[in-house]
């Protein structure tokens, strides 16, 4: 198989990996090529609207495992291919020089033994860093079941490490991915978290200590392939953020790949609204100070498809509103629908100069259409924006006559 055919096959197999972030790491080349930006840089957007910043490929799709939900599973017929180390290195360097990509996202099916696969992946990134002097972004997906030594070695060269938790519960993992054990996923995750913390502490004392996965670690789970409710998924995400210090948990709506009695029927479309609502709730838990139990409870364990989770929470808690823009603290502002992290920061900054007026809110980045009924400015209610007011009260126009008043 030629390089172009391999690239087509192995990038198509990698497209279900959600993460394409190139953020969180600052590298620059004293000698050699490449740099990374803390903010990350998107290089293009594919026709499905997703950002592309990394060359996202599998090293191989010849998988020894047979996970029911996976396009690369051993029992699925179809073409198989494996890159050579040279090919991946050449593609990365030539694409990087032309500014097509910000770096490499390398993952792989389990070829034979996890350690053997991990060795190939580590050889690629070691060669990029040591021989090619490449200082661009590298995200390496570690292989479940690989020994800690390989994970430790990978962290020396990669900016970000990730290991997919795959499914929200151990029971589902046993049922759909019988070759993978929960301990093979959480063990390396714990090890990466501890090593990152140790190395950060060492680097505080001595800057020359080499960093370990400076952009942290992330994970991904499939939603909709197994019966767990959103509350359980959000509790798991919170535990992963707090216990392992994960930068991100990615959610991926299950895309039917085959007919299997253990999975939803193949003609059932992926639940993208649920995926979207989970991301919104994840944001609220990670950055806005919400707990999963505030958003959901055992009697209502799934997110509302019709309303975003913050609006649904606000409507259940009328006693918390209206919030006064000129007196509320950051936490109170962040709980108002239509106010985000940036607009809350702007409100706090600008009210040191002058009280915020209702007409200033839009300029501060507040989505007035959603926020107006939850806010007041120094005791004054915020009027609805014109479009909302018009929609609420349809105008009944009547033709006036000059002599009507007589």
């Amino acid at each position: 198989m030629d390089l172009e055919a391999k690239l087509a096959l192995l990038s198509a197999a990698a497209k279900y990996d959600v993460s394409c972030a190139s953020s969180g790491s600052r590298r620059s080349a004293r000698r050699g090529i490449g740099s990374t930006a803390v903010s990350g840089i998107c290089h293009t957007w594919s026709d499905d609207g997703r950002c592309i910043s990394l060359l996202k490929i599998l090293f191989s799709n010849r998988c020894a495992y047979d996970c029911a939900y996976c396009v690369c599973r051993a029992s699925r017929p179809g073409p198989r291919a494996t890159f050579t180390v040279d090919e991946v290195v050449r593609l990365t360097m030539e694409f990087y020089r032309r500014n097509y990509i910000e770096g490499l996202f390398l993952s792989s099916a389990v070829v034979g033994h996890p350690d053997a696969t991990m060795e190939q992946l580590v050889r690629v990134i070691e060669r990029l860093r040591r021989q090619e002097n490449f200082h661009g972004y590298i995200h390496l997906k570690t292989i479940p079941g690989a020994s800690v030594e390989w994970v430790r070695r990978a962290g020396l060269f990669a900016d970000r490490l990730s290991i997919n938790i795959e499914l929200p519960s151990e029971a589902s993992l046993r049922r759909l991915a019988p070759d993978k054990a929960r301990a093979d996923i959480l063990g390396p995750m714990q090890h990466i978290a501890e090593t990152i913390a140790e190395r950060r502490e060492d680097r505080r004392r001595l800057r020359r200590v080499p960093p370990f996965a400076p952009a942290g670690q992330s994970t991904q789970m499939i939603v909709g392939a197994s019966p767990e409710p959103d509350l359980q998924i959000l509790r798991l995400a919170r535990a992963l953020y707090r216990r392992f210090g994960l930068r991100r948990v990615y959610y991926s709506a299950y895309e039917p790949v085959a007919a299997d009695p253990r999975l939803p029927p193949p003609d059932q479309p992926p639940d993208r609204v649920r995926e979207h609502r989970l991301y919104e709730a994840d944001w609220l838990v990670r950055l806005y100070g919400f707990e999963p139990e505030e958003l959901l409870d055992e009697s209502c364990p799934n997110l509302d498809h019709e309303r975003d989770p913050k609006l649904a929470w606000a409507l259940r808690h009328p006693e918390r509103f209206p919030v006064d823009v000129n007196r509320a603290d950051r936490e109170e502002l962040l709980r108002v629908p239509g106010i985000g992290l940036k607009s809350a920061a702007r409100i706090l900054a600008t009210r040191r100069w002058a009280p915020v007026r209702p007409e200033d809110l839009a300029a501060l980045g507040v989505v007035v259409r959603r926020a107006w009924s939850f806010l007041e400015c120094s005791g004054r209610r915020v009027p609805p924006p014109l479009r909302v007011a018009r929609a609420a009260e349809p105008i009944r126009a009547t033709q006036l006559e000059l002599l009507d008043g007589l």
Partner: protein
């Protein structure tokens, strides 16, 4: 009575004019080379010469009085292509001169708000082109990246690519404004290129391996898309179609869109055909 300060349109000229205007009493009005009509309405007019040393001294003064964030802001605003640019730059600096650097947080103030919005437009476009610039390898090994930005962001992009491509020769070519900035392997700085120099460089043609890598990239781009999630609206929201002209990957299935009327720019690889 408001006075008019005329300058030659260069960055150095603008900085010298702003320095002069900030020191003047009463308030002054800046006039660039493309705005001649206004001059007749204003009684007193002075012309300020572009002096790189005076411009540098003014930036030092900004750094000393307002800090490095304001220096970056002034340099970004100098790259903006907007009719309100001079007025906003002068207005925001006058406010900061009077009330201190922290005035940048007064988002409810219309001058500060409009200035920050313009600055954001420029820095967003520079950030976008850090990703959307596509280099093509020329026969002599130099990487040539044509762009057509709305604002003059090439000076903001050059330092990023100098760090990034320290071992290569490269050239960012602003096709719309007819100039470029390039760097050499191992060199610390970069230098401006004139249109004639760029034309001579492009006459060498493309490297023979270039087409193969462009094909590989297009293959990757098509394979990575999940067909069931196709969303042209989301794609265009993230990457406006006016930036597609020089992309190698042909987004939207190759439907290149150039909404700008009377665009005189050459097609992406046209200079290389001969």
């Amino acid at each position: 009575m408001t006075a008019a300060i005329r300058y030659d349109g260069s960055t150095d000229g603008l900085l010298c004019a702003v320095a002069r205007a900030l020191g003047s009493e009463p308030a002054a009005h800046l006039i660039g080379p493309d705005r001649t009509g206004e001059a007749r309405l204003l009684p007193d007019e002075v012309t300020v010469e572009a002096d790189p040393i005076a411009a540098g001294a003014f930036l030092d003064q900004v750094r000393w009085r307002l800090g490095p964030r304001w220096v970056r802001r002034v340099l970004r605003l100098c790259c903006a292509a907007d009719p309100a640019r001079d007025r906003l730059l002068l207005g925001a600096l006058a406010l900061a001169w009077e009330r201190g650097a922290e005035v940048e947080h007064w988002y409810a103030n219309p001058v500060i708000r409009a200035t920050l919005r313009l600055e954001r437009k420029v820095s967003l476009e520079a950030h976008r082109f850090q990703g959307l610039l596509r280099f093509r390898r020329l026969a002599d090994g130099r990487l040539w990246g044509p762009i057509e930005p709305d604002h003059d962001v090439t000076p903001l992009l050059a330092p990023c690519f100098r760090r990034r491509l320290a071992t290569d020769a490269w050239l960012i070519h602003d096709v719309r404004r007819g100039y470029g900035i390039g760097g050499e392997p191992g060199a610390d700085g970069c230098r401006p290129w004139t249109a004639a120099e760029i034309e001579a460089e492009l006459a060498r043609g493309l490297d023979p391996t270039e087409a193969a890598y462009q094909n590989l990239w297009r293959t990757f781009y098509q394979s990575i898309c999940i067909a069931a999630r196709r969303s042209p609206a989301l794609q265009r929201r993230n990457m406006p179609a006016r930036y597609w002209r020089y992309l190698v990957e042909e987004p939207g299935g190759g439907a290149r869109v150039d909404r700008r009327p009377n665009s005189a720019a050459p097609a992406p690889d046209k200079p290389l055909d001969g």
